[in-house]
């Protein structure tokens, strides 16, 4: 079977796996961004908490993703839920770290001026700190999302579905075409997402 014939005959499966993949990553990223941004903002109030959280997320990230997913199996079983949990845990570091650094590296004189002028802390957070930390947040979100897409493929191993399934099945069945198609599509999605978010980032920063 030629490569083209392979694509022609399998495209419904490929498409549905791709959509499934995107859906899982999308859900995970929505949760991850909401959680990561909140945590990143919260820990700016306390240096010790910040150290602990950053170290913890750092360690989370050194755990190889396959190992992390496998460790979730005894707790959460297999399927999409552990995949999403794993993805959220795994993509916290870039988001939390960037939100935190983005907020902490704001020129203190800007904050002093804001306080001195009589803005409330809530108002300072909303109108000064978050907008100023926004570029850093965006770049963290970009890194995390691209990571999430790649790790989402590995989640295929624990029954999350998605393009990883195609790759793992292809490997075990020695079907090179499946492996290559899975790998190429996942790479394209990663690259395109990175490009898109990069473009968005530049646009928003202007």
């Amino acid at each position: 079977m030629s490569f083209l014939e392979f694509l022609m005959s399998r495209w419904p499966t490929i498409l549905s796996l791709t959509l499934e993949h995107l859906l899982i990553v999308f859900i995970a990223m929505v949760i991850s961004i909401a959680l990561g941004v909140s945590v990143g903002i919260l820990i700016t109030k306390n240096k010790v908490a910040a150290q602990i959280v950053l170290n913890f997320t750092n360690i989370l990230m050194t755990i190889p993703s396959l190992a992390l997913f496998s460790l979730l199996i005894p707790v959460l079983g297999i399927g999409k839920i552990p995949a999403i949990v794993g993805l959220v845990a795994y993509t916290q570091l870039p988001i939390v770290r960037n939100v935190y650094t983005g907020m902490m590296t704001i020129n203190p004189s800007i904050l002093e001026a804001a306080r001195g002028m009589g803005l409330t802390e809530k108002k300072i957070l909303r109108t000064i700190k978050i907008p100023l930390a926004f570029p850093a947040m965006m770049s963290g979100i970009r890194t995390a999302t691209v990571m999430g897409i790649g790790i989402g493929a590995i989640a295929g191993y624990i029954g999350a579905g998605g393009l990883g399934v195609y790759i793992f099945q292809g490997i075990s069945r020695s079907n090179d075409q499946m492996v290559i198609v899975g790998a190429v599509i996942i790479s394209l999605i990663s690259i395109l997402t990175d490009r898109f978010l990069g473009g968005l980032q530049r646009k928003l920063n202007r």
Binding site: N107, S109, I110, L111, E112, A113, A114, R115, G116, M117, G118, L119, T120, K123, T127, I128, P131, L132
Partner: protein
């Protein structure tokens, strides 16, 4: 009026008070300069007025009201605040920066817009050109003008200025000082102005409080500080060349010999050098040194109203100089 009553500030873990038992008053509509070396407590003193720093003990009263009893946010909204790094919000346009406090106070859009225009003109920035610029498109001097405009936005009766011109180059700095004095003539705010530069203090202040190790060692007019420094510390701070500095405080209009209108006409005919009423005696002296002439006429508008002579200036300078 701002009044300090037995105000003490001690930072935790430090042996000495940062500010020790301050008792003084700043009259409404005047500029009070807080001057002294770094660590003398001048910035701490200023920041206690808008509660950025809380005193350990003592009370600060604004128009008779203890600021402890005033809501912090309300208090700060009624005090203009300008710092050396300006702290313009980089993601907001010039107009949005200026609109911050009026917005907090709930002003209507049209009123805010009108105020932005008015203030930009006051600080000599063309509203059409600058209103929508972002801070990073401005020069240092322009940024500080916007800083001044932003602090004045809601027309606060009090302004706190922490080394506002400290980061500017000397020429821009002198220009901003002149312009600010000019603005102050119109707005008559009560201003607390922190600086480490005694020259700036002498030039800008109605009164100067010299601080050392958390205490005021002298609080008096610039002329008095120059002619009667309270102790060796103040003398050293004002340094030499007092007589020249004092010439800087005398305005031609105050020390000239008046001329009658007919004498003025005659003087006009000579085509001799002229200065305005507001020029300082130092300006007059340098003009004389530049042109090599031993006298200079003073004009008010297009009328010559007086004359200053070289010997006169020398005499005045040495009279004050001797009294040290």
């Amino acid at each position: 009026m701002i009044r300090f009553e037995n105000v003490v500030k001690r930072y935790p873990g430090e042996g000495a008070d940062a500010v020790h038992n301050l008792n003084f008053e700043i009259a409404s509509g005047t500029i009070c300069m807080l001057v002294g070396p770094s660590g003398c407590g001048k910035t701490t003193t200023m920041k206690m007025i808008n509660k950025l720093i809380r005193p350990t003990s003592g009370a600060i009263l604004i128009d008779g009201r203890n600021i402890d009893t005033v809501d912090t946010i309300e208090l700060r909204l009624s005090i203009g605040y300008i710092i050396q790094d300006i702290g313009l919000f980089p993601h907001m346009s010039v107009g949005e920066n200026i609109a911050t406090v009026p917005g907090e106070l709930g002003w209507k859009k049209e009123r805010i817009n009108a105020r932005i225009e008015e203030l930009l003109e006051l600080v000599d920035l063309n509203p059409k050109v600058y209103r929508n610029k972002k801070p990073n498109e401005l020069s240092g001097g322009q940024k500080q003008r916007v800083g001044v405009a932003r602090a004045l936005a809601a027309d606060p009766p009090i302004m706190l200025m922490d080394e506002p011109f400290g980061a500017l180059d000397p020429i821009t700095r002198a220009k901003m000082q002149d312009e600010f004095l000019h603005i102050q003539e119109k707005i008559r705010k009560t201003i607390v102005f922190v600086t480490h530069d005694i020259e700036e203090a002498i030039k800008m202040g109605d009164n100067i409080a010299v601080l050392k190790a958390g205490q005021i060692v002298q609080l008096s007019s610039p002329m008095e500080i120059l002619s009667n420094p309270a102790d060796p510390f103040v003398s050293e701070l004002i340094g030499g060349r007092n007589s020249l500095k004092m010439l800087n405080l005398m305005l031609c209009g105050q020390i000239m010999k008046s001329l009658s209108p007919s004498e003025g006409e005659k003087a006009r005919a000579t085509g001799h050098g002229l200065l305005g009423l507001k020029a300082t005696a130092q300006d007059a002296l340098s003009e004389m040194l530049r042109t090599g002439q031993r006298f200079i006429y003073v004009e008010d508008g297009d009328r010559i109203v007086g004359v200053l002579e070289f010997e006169d200036l020398l005499e005045r300078a040495s009279r004050h100089g001797l009294s040290q």
